[in-house]
């Protein structure tokens, strides 16, 4: 029991990071690289924290719902113009959006600027967190093999061709962009009600890069990939804490180094991520 208590925080962060990686996966699943999710996460986190602090009577489920809806709604008018941009340009535009959101919170006196909101009650219970993860996985799982799922795949493979086939590419892309925003928003609110504090420094460009890296390392071909990536990269630093100091390297740079090397190795040699490893091994054994 004590061992579980000692690592419950770590286990919770696996769940939160899994949601964030899934939020990046949502847009990647139709071939769009959006880096706006740290911004959506911030909006969700502040929404949830403000509701809980100023209206403590509202049930947590309603708080989470609001934290998902607001980013999802903001994603619609934002998505319309930016989703017309291709590849890298979409990424850059959404980086800009994320930074503007962060700077907005830095300069907003109502939320205490850089100091953020503190003393948020801890309402995120492990079962709420993991139920949310399961719910998101369930939705993504149902998409697979459905009409929508095929449409998303078609858009990912070749957007032009998908459009000539009569697929409403814009509507699908917008829907997934908004869905990703909702997941990021919920994750933000869950984190805020777990760590007792929200402040703008938690939603920098580095945060969205972390989400992306976890999604890619886990694998974006299949929806459990991001969860595996998030678990792997969240637990790794704990394992390295010991190892790093033994070989005499400062643990921080060593962790950073290993993160970079793992990401590079995955991109070069395992483009479908760790999730594809079992399949690959099986194929090798058979072949």
């Amino acid at each position: 029991m004590n061992l579980y208590l000692a690592y419950q925080g770590l286990i919770a962060f696996v769940g939160i990071n899994a949601l964030l990686a899934l939020s990046v996966y949502a847009t990647l699943s139709c071939g769009q690289l959006s880096l706006a999710n740290a911004g959506f996460m911030a909006i969700g986190a502040y929404t949830g924290a403000l509701l809980t602090l100023h209206a403590p009577g509202i049930p947590f489920a309603a708080v989470l719902l609001a934290s998902a809806l607001l980013p999802a709604l903001i994603a619609l008018p934002l998505g319309l113009p930016v989703l017309r941009l291709r590849g890298v340009f979409l990424a850059i535009a959404t980086i800009g959006f994320g930074e503007v959101v962060r700077l907005g919170f830095v300069n907003w006196d109502y939320t205490n600027g850089a100091l953020g909101l503190v003393a948020i009650p801890q309402r995120t219970k492990p079962w709420i967190l993991w139920l949310t993860v399961l719910a998101v996985l369930f939705v993504l799982g149902r998409l697979r093999g459905s009409r929508t799922g095929y449409a998303l795949e078609a858009i990912r493979e070749d957007e032009m061709a998908a459009r000539t086939m009569g697929i409403e590419t814009t509507a699908y892309k917008l829907a997934m962009f908004s869905f990703g925003a909702a997941i990021a928003g919920i994750a933000g609110a869950l984190e805020a009600h777990f760590t007792f504090i929200v402040s703008p420094s938690g939603y920098s460009f580095g945060r969205v890069v972390d989400m992306l890296v976890q999604a890619i390392v886990g694998g974006t071909a299949y929806f459990v990939g991001p969860v595996i990536g998030a678990a792997f990269l969240t637990l790794l630093p704990e394992a390295l804490r010991e190892a790093g100091s033994r070989v005499g390297l400062s643990p921080g740079p060593f962790r950073l180094f290993l993160n970079g090397v793992i990401l590079l190795a995955v991109i070069l040699y395992l483009p479908d991520g760790i999730a594809s490893l079992p399949r690959r091994l099986r194929r090798r054994v058979r072949g």
Partner: protein
């Protein structure tokens, strides 16, 4: 080819590694060495990596220096909170549930403290903060959270008052980092202190932590012709700000916030640092026996002491005193009760007591850079 190139990068790096200016910080061995000898188990969550790593290194040295000659036995386990609240929470939960510590020192950053301290409060584990200066979100969490670091509002108003007596300024230009907890909190206090002294703020400018170029802000501030420049910045930014202000022809006085209290500031700012005035919770030149002992102990660690190591060192002394006050018993409740009895303890910070709100209470001082060194302003 590609490997060769990568090696060039590595080789270059390791070639200059033994210059010693930035030797990588070792971690983990020294504190656990004491564990075999028994004594109360204390966890220390310090930022040994990440943006606050330079403070964490000072704190670690301070703790180790304090352990060297202590009346009671303490087994202090140092863990890295990586300057993030996530790692802070993870480390706290390990301390509380796995290591079953009697008390916790840290964490380094106020943000991390706001996230992790409530866990200790829930489990009734006393926490002694040794560097958190935020006014809210620390000791107001609950009765198990204590701190030996003065808040900005305990240091800055007095420092500014003394500075005004010396410099007779009536107007000021203010520059502060608005994306950082430490510097924003400092600014909030400065603004109020200036208003209380009836100093007119001609203009206020901001910068962000990653910025390196402050010329535009400084030009705008200097253009308003204030009597003094008031700057709330971390040591890293502070040095460059002061240097750039001097380059733009600013000859007047500069008042700094807590972030200036670092040997790194003087080193990096060089001659530009001359005349800068800062309030500090640690008087480096104090002739008190406790401070002299601290300086001697720090010399052995090879780390140039600053306010952070002094506060961490004092934190260990305070915990030892708390154990002594509770008759040598080391359970969580005993230490909690003992902390309440700490009064007028001799530390490098001066005579130390807690306020009824469990905040630090001791005399701050004002220092000024003269001939490349901080000197106390009497």
């Amino acid at each position: 080819m590609k490997r060769a190139l990568l090696l060039v990068a590595f080789a270059l790096g390791f070639a200059c590694k033994d210059q010693g200016t930035n030797a990588p910080k070792q971690e983990g061995q020294a504190p656990s060495a004491a564990s075999s000898s028994g004594g109360a188990v204390i966890g220390a969550a310090l930022s040994l990596t990440g943006p606050a790593a330079s403070y964490g290194a000072q704190q670690k040295a301070g703790i180790q220096a304090a352990l060297a000659d202590l009346p009671v036995k303490l087994d202090i386990r140092i863990e890295d909170d990586a300057s993030t609240k996530e790692q802070g929470i993870t480390v706290f939960q390990k301390f509380i549930n796995r290591d079953q510590v009697s008390a916790i020192i840290g964490p380094t950053l106020s943000n991390t403290a706001s996230a992790a301290d409530p866990l200790a409060q829930q489990s009734k584990v006393p926490v002694l903060a040794v560097s958190n200066t935020a006014a809210t979100g620390i000791t107001d969490i609950g009765n198990y959270i204590w701190r030996d670091s003065l808040m900005e509002k305990q240091v800055i108003p007095g420092a500014f008052k003394k500075a005004q007596e010396k410099l007779h300024f009536k107007t000021a230009g203010v520059l502060y980092g608005n994306d950082d907890v430490f510097t924003k909190a400092g600014y909030d206090v400065m603004q109020k202190a200036l208003a209380d002294l009836q100093v007119k703020v001609i203009s206020t400018q901001t910068f962000a932590k990653p910025d390196r170029d402050y010329n535009a802000q400084l030009t705008a501030l200097i253009g308003g012709k204030p009597d003094v420049l008031v700057v709330s910045a971390l040591a890293d930014n502070a040095a460059a700000i002061v240097a750039q202000a001097r380059q733009l022809g600013w000859k007047g006085a500069i008042l700094g916030g807590n972030g200036f209290n670092s040997p790194a500031f003087i080193k990096n700012a060089g001659a530009a640092a001359e005349g800068v005035m800062v309030g500090t919770s640690w008087n480096s030149l104090s002739q008190d026996a406790a401070n002299q002992k601290f300086l001697a102990a720090m010399q052995k660690t090879g780390v140039n002491p600053d306010q952070f190591s002094a506060q961490a060192y004092s934190g260990v002394l305070i915990l030892a005193e708390a154990i002594k006050q509770s008759g040598g018993k080391t359970s969580r409740e005993d230490i909690e009760a003992g902390l309440g009895k700490v009064k007028d303890l001799d530390t490098p910070l001066g005579k130390f007591s807690f306020t009824p709100e469990r905040d630090a209470q001791h005399e701050p001082s004002v220092q000024q850079v003269k001939d490349g060194k901080f000197q106390i302003v009497q």
